[in-house]
Structures are given as structure tokens and as C-alpha cells.
Amino acid sequence: MYVAVKGGEKAIRNAHRLMATKRRGDRSVPGLTLEQIAGQLAIAVARVMGEGSLYDEGLAALAIKQARGDLIEAVFLLRAYRTTLPRFGYSEPVDTGAMLVERRISATFKDLPGGQLLGPTFDYTHRLLDFKLAADGELDAPLTAEVTETAMPRVTDLLSGEGLIEEDVQPEETAAVGDLTREPLSFPAGRDLRLQNLARGDEGFLLALAYSTQRGYGRTHPFAGEIRYGAVEVEFFAEELGFAVPLGRINVTECQMVNQFKGSAKVPPQFTRGYGLVFGQVERKAMSMAMVDRSLRCEELGEERTAPAQDEEFVMSHSDNVQATGFVEHLKLPHYVDFQAELDLVRRMRGEWFDRQAADQAAASEAIGSGPTGTSEKEAAE
């Protein structure tokens, strides 16, 4: 009853203790190691790193373990940890053209310099439950090939040679890139902030938005120009040394959507692009991000803004799952003070309603005999 709400410190302690037990599960079964999670649930780990915006497989694996596999909770844990970390500076932009590519596909060209490289993928598998996997049966070693030194230019660079696709806008040297973890978001937001927001955005939310554009809510006619996955070098410009030093490698998926564009008064018809970049091999998110990025560029490209995916304020204000889950779940907190105020009002209004009804009925019974009054003149029928 009432006291259950007034939980008190002891109740909270005990609840958390019980949760820890539930998390551990059957104690006769070995507990999950972080190596197992990071190694075998790599895509979950990548998602948590991306939406948590912290590239650390160990911490992400710990977060997933601590969250009992609740990935949004894990993202939250990682974010809360991330805020406390000191910031030394910003890395140089990664060069995805120089990626050590593990997978690279293009839906727009049959073949292209560097070739198509299928790599590890669920694509073209039959989605049949694999019972051998349940038994952890023997696994064939993967085939390997000679590493060729062919360059693998990005598809968008191939197209832009012909002027068929818009140039990557080169920001001015002095242009500051916004940082939405350090400054409050304000609208209208530049593309830099939009991409940051989408990169941290919830995979499910972006997927649904991207899907909605395909179904006609703000069509953008996308083609998957290129999706590539692999390792890129992260470099940091060290003031003391005067040059950039490598910090290490991270795995990313990059998606460039190529979209039809009819041209405008100033610009000839050409293809435009949407861009997606995520940690790890989270292709669905990278593709969704690229499609939503393109949709959000509607104003810049002179397109009419009609659909949710084109609405910057709508998308950016609702993409963050840590914010969303917090506010939805805060409804679990006690609200009885406000509810009391509403209760009081509804009781009073009900009382007045019944009084009015009674008065109307009394008036009606008095009026009997003077003939029906008829409905008052309604104009709606004109």
C-alpha cells in the first residue's frame, strides 16, 4: 500500500541485491566473461559503443553484462561513464578511403576498382535456426586469400569525377565543428550536429524513420552507393610534436547513400548523398543513418518538408534513447501530489456535471406541456 511507495533506503538496497542475484542466473552455470561477450556478441557490443559514443569493447561488454543484456541500459551505463572522462582534445577526421576493408559492397555498380568484397555478413544466409551452433559443433576455418594492394576508392569519389554527384562540402579551415556533448543543441542545427546526433541515435528509431521515407513519407530515392566495413586509423594532432600521431585502430561501417536529385535553378541535376558512419559492423544503423541524413537535408536542397524524417527538430529531439528511456520510465516515479490535484478537480467537475444534469431534468419536466422546443437553429447544414 502506501508505505510501499515510501520505499526507504532498505527497500532499495534489497531490491538491488535481488536484481544482482537474478542477473547472475543459475550459479551452477559459469558466469559470462567479458571476453565472451566482446568476442561472440560483437554486434551488440558495437551497438552499445556507438550509441554510448565510447569506443571500448571491454567497457561495453561489461555494460551489457551489468545490464543483463538490456542494450539501452548498457548504452546508458557507458554514457554515464563517458561523461566523467577527461577530454584531451579531438582526433583528426578518420580516412575511410584508406580503410583496411573487410567488407565492401556497392549496389550501384556491378564491378568497380577494388572489387566487391562480401566479407562477413548475414546477407544471403537462410534464416534457419542452426542447431549445430547450439551444440557448439566443429567450425570450419575461414578461407583466406592473398592481400592485394589494389586501392579501394570510395564509390562517391568515382562518381564525383564526372560531376554527377555533389561534391563533399569542404568546410573552411577555421570552421568550428560543433560538439553536442559540450554545447546545448539549438535549432536550426548544422549538418555536423545532425550527423553527431544520428550517430548516437537509437538504431530502432532511425530504422523506422528510414523505412518511412521508403514508404513515401518524404521519398529520397536512395541507392546504396557503398557500404564498407573495416579498420581505420585514429590520429591525434599533438601540438608539441607538430604532427598527427596514430592512437590505434577502430572498426567502423560507413554507408554512402546516393540519391536522385532533379536539380534547381542554381544546380544542374545530379546525385546527392546521405552519410552514415557507425562503430563496428552495425550496417542497419549505418544505412538508416545515411537515409535520415539525406532526408534532413531537404531544406538545403530546396525540397518541401512534409514528413517526420525531414523534420530536424522532431528527429533530433527524439533520437536519443537514453533521454527517451529516462523520460518514459520516469512515469514509474511517484506522482501522487499532482495526481491528487487532478483527483480533486475531476471530483469537483463531476459534482457540477451531475448538478447540471439534475437541474436540466427538472427544467425539462417543468417544460412538458408547453410543447417540444425543437433544436436550436443549427447552421452547420448551410
Binding site: 436550436s376 447552421e379 452547420a380 448551410e382
Partner: protein, 262 residues
């Protein structure tokens, strides 16, 4: 009440030009609007009349040219030199804008009374009874039954919505009202009633009006003077009766001959 000042125009457009990219919206339009005068801008769709109206009402910035308005203090001010605060204040007190589609000019989810009362509250009226009284009064003037005051406009017919929109605009006693095809999309009988109402209100209140219409009959019935537009440019101007009875430009002759004479 503005008679002593009527030696001066209320609104003056000089060389108003608006491009959309390299496409012309309207080009080099100049005219003066006098207090109490109703000016019709007529033309086919695409003639630039709505572009011109939107420039005049500061809903669209002209590419070139100037639009001046005589403020209540008598000073002539360039509308695009006003601060946004001044402009918005002007729009909700001294001006009205009647949209073709009433839903664009009304709050469809709040009651008719609140729709009429909003401008009063915006300028600081804080007496519920007075606001409601004024709203009732205005509903009556535009021939909407007072019992509908708490209904929202979604429950209203097209003609009622249009009349509600007019009441909502006139409640602050504006001096200038812009109208964009106010009778468009209504049945003929409803149109006639609305025009009749508008003519009465304009005369009673001494309003100045700029009305855009493709319908020469509407221009004939309401306006004193008219501007004929084609391809973004003014073809002919003059007193309404003169232009309609003795059109000079070949295009105007064509327009006039293509409709039934009223």
C-alpha cells in the same frame, strides 16, 4: 476617423519585385492604397497576384522595391525596416489576413470564442467576461449563432469557418485587411452571402482592403479600384467599373469577355 489624414495613402508599394530563383514572381509593381479603399488584384493563377499579396503583407520578402505603411502615429514606415516585434504586433492588431483556406487562418482545435478572443488576449485583455462578450458580439456580426461559441471550427461548414476567420481578424479593429481568394472553394450561394457580409463590414468599418481574386465578379462587387496582372506584371489599373466596362489592354479585354457580365 482617418479623414483628416486621407490626403496621404495608407500603403505605398514602389517597384515591388520578387524572384523565385530565376523565375519571376512579380515584377516592378507600384501603387498606392488610400484609407477606406478596396483594391482588387486580379489575374489567372500564376499571374503573380498571390506573390504580390504575400510581399505586401510581409509574409514574403521582396527581392527589390519598397513597401511603406502609414502607422497609427501618422508616420510612413518601410515595412521591411521594422523590427520583427513591430511587424508581428502590426500583423495582429492593425492588420488582418483572410486566407482562402480558413484552416490556415484559424486554430482548428480551440473554440470559436477563443479564436475570436485570441487577438484581444494577445494585446493584453485579461477580463474573461469582456473577451467572451466581444467574441459573442462578433459572432453575431458575422452571422454565427451565439450558441456555437464553445464549438471548435472543425464542426463548422466552409462558409461559417470563413466568417469566423473574418471575425477573428476584425476584432482588434484593424485598418487594413489582406484577403486571398476569400470566397474560393465555396458554393455559389454561400459565396454570395459571404460577399454580401464582407461588403457590409468593409463599408461599416471603413476598412482598407487588398483582395486577391481570379473572379472578376468578386472584384466588381467589392472593389473600388483594380489591378490586372499577368506573368508577374501589371497589365492595367483603374477604377473597377472603368476597367470592367471599358478594358484597354487586350489581355483584360479577353478576361472580361470570357466571363458572364454581372
Amino acid at each position: 476617423m482617418t479623414d483628416f489624414l486621407s490626403e496621404e495613402p495608407l500603403l505605398r508599394a514602389s517597384g515591388v519585385t520578387r524572384f523565385y530563383g530565376d523565375r519571376i514572381g512579380c515584377r516592378d509593381v507600384s501603387f498606392e492604397l488610400w484609407p477606406g479603399e478596396v483594391l482588387a488584384i486580379v489575374g489567372e493563377s500564376g499571374s503573380g497576384k498571390t506573390t504580390l499579396l504575400n510581399c505586401l503583407a510581409t509574409r514574403l520578402a521582396p527581392t527589390a522595391g519598397a513597401i511603406e505603411y502609414r502607422m497609427r502615429d501618422g508616420a510612413m514606415r518601410d515595412l521591411f525596416q521594422l523590427t520583427e516585434a513591430e511587424r508581428r504586433f502590426l500583423m495582429r492588431t492593425d492588420w488582418g489576413f483572410v486566407h482562402q483556406n480558413a484552416a490556415d487562418g484559424l486554430r482548428m482545435t480551440v473554440s470559436a470564442g477563443a479564436n475570436v478572443g485570441e487577438r484581444l488576449m494577445a494585446v493584453g485583455n485579461r477580463h474573461y467576461g469582456n473577451i467572451r462578450g466581444t467574441a459573442l458580439d462578433w459572432l453575431e456580426r458575422v452571422e454565427i449563432d451565439g450558441t456555437r461559441i464553445d464549438d471548435d471550427p472543425r464542426a463548422f461548414s466552409g462558409g461559417m469557418r470563413q466568417r469566423l476567420q473574418i471575425a477573428r481578424n476584425l476584432v482588434t479593429g484593424p485598418r487594413l485587411v489582406f484577403m486571398d481568394e476569400p470566397t474560393g472553394g465555396l458554393d455559389v450561394s454561400v459565396q454570395a452571402r459571404l460577399l454580401d457580409l464582407l461588403r457590409g463590414l468593409v463599408a461599416d468599418l471603413g476598412l482598407s482592403v487588398v483582395i486577391v481574386t481570379h473572379d472578376l465578379a468578386v472584384a466588381r462587387l467589392l472593389s473600388h479600384r483594380m489591378i490586372v496582372m499577368r506573368n508577374g506584371e501589371v497589365i492595367e489599373t483603374g477604377l473597377t467599373d472603368q476597367v470592367l466596362d471599358d478594358p484597354q489592354a487586350p489581355y483584360t479585354q479577353l478576361l472580361v469577355s470570357s466571363i458572364l457580365q454581372v
